[in-house]
Amino acid sequence: MTHEILRTNPDRRGSGRTALRLARAHRRVLTGGVVATTAASILSIVGAVLVGRLTDAALRGDGDRAVLLGVLGVACAVVQVASQGCGAAWLARAGEYIVRDLRDTMAHRLVLAPLRFVERHRAGELLQRGTAEVAALSMFVRESLSQLVITLGTLAVSVVVLAVESWQLLLAMLVAFLPVSWLLMARFRHGAGPAFAAEAAADAQVMAGAAEIVRTREVLWQARPDGMRHWRARFDAYGREALSAQMRTVRVSRWVNAMSVVEGLSLAALLVVGARLVDADIVSVGVVVTFVLAGRTMFAGFSDLSALLGDFEEAATGAARAHDLLAVTGASPRSGAGDPRGPAVLRATGVRFGYGDVMVLDRVDLELGPGDRVCLVGRTGSGKSTLAKLLAGLYTPDAGSVTFAGVELSSLDHRARARAVAYVPQQVQLGTGTLRDELVLVAPEASDAELSEAAERLGLGPWLSGLEAGLDTLVDRDLSAGERQVVGLVRVALLDAPVLVLDEATSDLDPHTAQLVEAALDRLAAGRAVVVVAHRQATVDAFDVVYDVAAVLRRV
């Protein structure tokens, strides 16, 4: 599971089942929509039948009956329009709810996904799947879905009604129409899957490229003109690939356009056979007229269907990619709060971990009881930060185990694990909200007084009251890099976990504030276990137990 990545052209089978499962939750609105649109479809065919009868009445000279049929036709039309309007609205609404459930689930999964999964993908790719592709699904639902249902309904009803009118004519029409159109659609479907997937992948690559440029723009400003040309050329290449991928889908769509030729063939067949039947007095002219009109509706439906199927193909590809994200991130169920019975000891046994083919840590054993303080050292790149993340349960070891109070850390859900072992990274990533928003991530119910009290427990009360806007300070704009570390530490204080793992957390502060925080950490560390990944000799000197990660590797 740790080695799975998102696929560019994923299998579609699972997404249908997921769609049905999501749809079940909104079946009332969905059913209402389907019923209303089916009613509209029935009425549209009934209208064609009425025209046929009307024609016959007119030819016979039966004026009264003809007028009556005409009035009936108008009533039919009115009800059909109302029914279609409501049906389309309900269907689109149901679709919107389903898309909402889908994107909420995706966001949830992105939060729960293992850290290695997120690190293994470009942020732009994940962002694209989670936002733009889901937005495209929403647009499909809004514009095409109800049309699709209406069209399918109309076709089904047409076949039934026309069979009742004259099975011979229907047979003639279907024989002329079905085999060739089936062939055309088969050729289309054969080429469509890969073509649309390639188009989606090429578009995603363009977007990922753009996202990368936006992300790194401050660095790119430093580039010289020939460097700029290099990056532009790379982006332009993505654009060209996207263009040829799109033109490939156009070529595939030609099979769909050819349906109009088949339509002409069927109409011609209809006329010729109809004339024979009229001559033989088997059917009236009116029936042939009904078939011509209904036939046109059917053909228009088929070509709408073809265009809609194109939209549907794109949407199915998008749905498959969304489902792929859900499938890949849903694979490991976490049992929940766990049942820590043992003593509050963090134990790493025989831990082995590597990135791809590169082994970073091998047979690492470590034990931390309450009150233990361990410092991890080693030259840059020796795996200190990796070991820290393993001890915090953010990575799952390739072999061996990391347990706390007897419970495997990787089996706990995120909240329970953070309440057992809290982790603060080297770079504390904050959002764009206020300080209160950031602190409340840990304790949603905490009051302002509780937040201030947590800061004071660390000795950071003066700092907090020194902020101009207090808890309303915008973290993105008004806090310096050192202060962001401070925010990270206050959150840990709120969390109150028995084990703390800190990765160079104090290295971004100037000596004065670093001393403040160290004193506060001392207060927090009472009765708790602390692991610090340090670079500065001063930090290392303050610890009794020093664990050299590089030495572990060298040990055979």
């Binding site: 329009v81 109302a82 994107r103 690190e119 440029i213 992300r215 840059t380 953070a418």
Partner: protein, 525 residues
């Protein structure tokens, strides 16, 4: 802006329009052939005439197919090329740094604009040839209907004002709903961006559930806006389709009396019925294109906010053409007192700025690098604020505390795409003590990636050395580096001092000891 986009794709759009006209003529002649087939063939029981007209129907359909293929091809070509041009322009603007300071757009929202908003404009471009098809329909149907019966023409004509009324009421309401929808999508995208961007930090503190509930709140708001927009669209389309449908029924009622009188044939009724369906389709298509034009206008406004009102040309190269003169002195003036020099740094002198957290060291560097412009900056006595971001970036390189890694090879990360000899790159790596750890051909991941914090900082410093700027600003670049390596880095820095102004923010002992001059900033703001 939309006119410029359309002009840019004139050729394929014109060809597509012509092909569309051909297709529509084929499409519209089918009912007329049917009419003749019914009247001359069926009713008159003339087999030869019937066969002739049946073949005519088939021929019209073939013409329709050929026109359609050509239309599809060129319309797609036009929209794909328009997309490429727009995205290239957007990327150019981002890379040129022209749009900075035009107002804050979150990264997630900016990407959505490059994605969703460009797509909306592409859809609009794709739909432009359709107008010629609609026009053809009108041109063919008006005389066609008149030739059937003036009464039926009147019924058909009456549908048009009804549709126009619908077309006036709804679009404006739809446009504002669509703009609100775009905002809601952008807000939600920012939440997803936060979830992905803070992956490590939020897992470390178990902050996931709150992030999820915040996302879900945004998503719920998005759904409400979306449903409102959808309902509006459904009602609009129902009227748009409903009016012709009801008109057909009314027309048939009117027509049947004409048939009984003998002033209209049965074939005429069939033709009327079929053509009315076409009017319905034409109106529906025109409405859809209007909707797409409105959505495109919203998108164009959102893009103009980033691009400026016109489609920019490919970057003014004048900035890059002029050689960068060496700078001898950099001065930073305090914001409130215009003559108080907060910092003065000279060529060849290593200035280290230190002080407690929050004393404004980083914002000092940002002022020189052109970020916030809070404090006024002078290079050799001349103020700096008139220079563009790009021009400034050519002279001043700032290595931040958390530098960015490009998703490319180490070579590209160092040379930023320029053609720099490997020997210079290796020399830069040696000066930051990375020569043994990284190969020039190693591929790096963007974001958190496979490099440690210290390696990223040193890579960014090496990149600055390769760039060789006149002013070098370093924000605590040895904060994640162990002390042995730090010593090598500081030695490398002193070697590279030469002909530039260097200002370093640090509180590390090794750096302060190596300084020519130390400036201590005051305590809290």
């Amino acid at each position: 802006m939309m006119a410029a986009i359309a002009r840019g794709q004139a050729t394929p759009l014109v060809v597509a329009s012509l092909a569309g006209i051909v297709r529509q003529i084929g499409f519209l002649s089918v009912p007329w052939c049917l009419q003749r087939a019914v009247d001359d063939g069926l009713v008159a029981a003339d087999t030869a005439a019937l066969t002739w007209w049946a073949v005519a129907v088939l021929a019209a359909c073939v013409v329709q197919f050929l026109g359609m293929c050509c239309w599809d091809w060129f319309a797609n070509l036009a929209d794909a090329r328009a997309g490429i041009v727009l995205r290239a322009d957007l990327v150019d603007q981002v890379v040129e740094g022209v749009g900075e300071g035009r107002g804050t757009v979150g990264a997630g929202d900016l990407i959505l604009r490059v994605g969703r908003d460009v797509d909306l404009l592409r859809v609009w471009v794709h739909g432009l040839p359709t107008w010629s098809v609609v026009l053809t329909t009108v041109v063919v149907l008006v005389p066609g209907m008149l030739s059937l019966s003036p009464l039926l023409f009147a019924v058909a004509a009456a549908t048009v004002p009804c549709l126009v009324v619908v077309g006036v009421i709804y679009p404006r309401r739809y446009e504002s709903a669509s703009a609100a929808l775009a905002e809601a999508h952008g807000a939600r995208a920012d939440h997803v961006d936060h979830i992905i961007g803070s992956a490590v930090t939020s897992r470390g503190i178990g902050g996931g559930p709150v992030l999820v509930s915040r996302h879900h709140a945004s998503s719920a708001g998005l759904t409400i806006t979306s449903v409102r927009t959808t309902d509006l669209l459904a009602r609009w389309q129902a009227w748009g389709v409903g009016v012709p449908t009801i008109a057909v029924a009314v027309g048939l009622l009117v027509g049947v009396t004409a048939v009984i009188d003998g002033s209209l044939t049965v074939g005429g009724l069939v033709a009327f019925s079929t053509w009315m369906a076409t009017i319905g389709i034409a109106v529906e298509v025109a409405l859809m294109r209007v909707v797409q034009t409105l959505e495109a206008r919203v998108a164009a406004d959102r893009l103009s906010a980033v691009l400026g009102p016109d489609l920019g040309t490919r970057g003014p190269e004048e900035v890059d053409a002029e050689p960068v003169a060496p700078i001898h002195q950099v001065e930073v003036i305090a914001a409130d007192t215009p003559h108080a020099v907060v910092l003065a740094a000279r060529v060849g002198e290593l200035v280290v700025v230190t002080g407690p957290t929050g004393s404004g060291k980083s914002s000092l560097l940002r002022s020189v690098a052109g970020g916030d412009g809070v404090q006024a900056v002078r290079f050799d006595g001349l103020p700096v604020h008139h220079l563009s971001r790009r021009a400034l970036a050519r002279r001043v390189v700032m290595v931040p505390q958390r530098p960015l890694v490009l998703e490319a090879s180490v070579r590209e990360n160092l040379s930023l795409g320029s053609d720099v000899p490997d020997s210079l790159l290796l020399a830069a790596l040696a000066d930051v003590d990375l020569a043994g750890e990284l190969d020039l051909d190693d591929q790096l991941e963007g974001g958190a990636g496979s490099l440690s914090g210290g390696q990223v900082q040193r890579l960014a410093l090496a990149r600055a050395y390769v760039c060789d700027p006149a002013v070098l600003l370093l924000d605590d670049v040895t904060s994640a580096v162990d002390e042995t390596t730090e010593r090598h880095v500081v030695e490398g820095l002193r070697r590279r001092m030469g002909h530039r102004v260097v200002v370093v923010v640090s509180h590390r002992r090794a750096v302060i000891e190596a300084a020519d001059r130390v400036v201590t900033m005051g305590s809290a703001r």
